[in-house]
């Protein structure tokens, strides 16, 4: 496992930039041979994680930093796992309290952690030194016989402007 991210993005905690983060992650995932639905799910997990930082960590302040790092892992010539690390300088919480809520209680909000855990293979929250939190999540490529992974595609960007 490389310590150096292949891609590292610093964005402000402004929802305006969620789209750009989704585009980046989805495009990298596509090049790593994830199928279209997996690309979209990975972009969704990143979106939800960033929203949680903005909403709960920074209390919707729009000028605080968030770092997004991507680590392709596996064989050097064909990585088959994408590890994503999201870090912030927001208030720290005990990782154990970050849980999915009861979905039987249908109400607006509170679905982000559930969605992240549903679509990613591994999810881990931890405190980041003296300030902020770190979320590490990963997903492995599932090879199917019908995949067209690697082929050029205009879709699977996770972000479309109407």
């Amino acid at each position: 496992m490389s310590d150096k991210p292949h891609v590292r993005l610093e964005i402000l905690s402004n929802p305006l930039y969620l789209c750009g983060a989704r585009e980046l992650v989805s495009a990298v995932a596509k090049r790593l041979s994830f199928d279209e639905m997996a690309c979209c799910q990975i972009a969704l997990a990143v979106d939800e994680a960033l929203c949680n930082v903005i909403r709960h960590g920074y209390n919707r302040q729009s000028d605080r930093p968030i770092w997004l790092s991507l680590y392709p892992e596996g064989p050097a010539d064909r990585p088959d796992v994408l590890r994503i690390v999201i870090e912030d300088e927001a208030k720290q919480v005990e990782p154990d309290v970050i849980k999915s809520r009861d979905l039987e209680d249908v109400r607006p909000g509170g679905l982000g952690v559930h969605i992240i855990k549903e679509v990613m293979d591994e999810v881990r929250y931890e405190k980041r030194g003296e300030a902020g939190m770190r979320l590490t999540m990963s997903k492995k490529v599932v090879v199917s016989s019908g995949t067209d992974a690697g082929a050029p595609s205009a879709s699977c960007t996770g972000c479309h402007h109407g």
Binding site: L18, M37, C40, I115
Partner: protein, 111 residues
């Protein structure tokens, strides 16, 4: 960030048609449009998702809130024409059975 939202009447229904991605930056605009549309207490409120390519949990939250308001007003809320990625989100969130979801706007008008 603004989002293009069309609102029109179809028979006894009001049809709200957002266009673009429904994420944290754009869901508030849809929430305002739905609240405005629900102010008239229509018999049926249709949310046409044909031009929504992407939705996250903030979009879901907006629609859950609209559903709760609709139940309070005895309005029938119908979601229509969502793509496979958006449909998958409803399934992940276990909300696909909570809403009345149909495949097309015509089906929604006739629902």
């Amino acid at each position: 960030m603004s989002i293009d939202i069309q609102i029109e009447k179809r028979e006894t229904a009001i049809v709200v048609s957002p266009r673009g991605d429904l994420d944290m930056s754009r869901s508030p605009a849809l929430r305002n449009s739905l609240r405005s549309a629900q102010g008239d207490k229509p018999k049926t409120l249709i949310v046409n998702l044909a031009s929504v390519e992407y939705m996250d949990s903030s979009g879901l939250a907006t629609l859950v809130e609209a559903m709760k308001n609709a139940k309070n007003n005895s309005t029938k809320l119908v979601l229509c024409a969502m793509n496979q990625k958006v449909k998958a989100l409803f399934e992940i969130a276990r909300l696909h059975n909570y809403f009345n979801i149909v495949s097309s706007l015509d089906d929604a008008v006739g629902a």
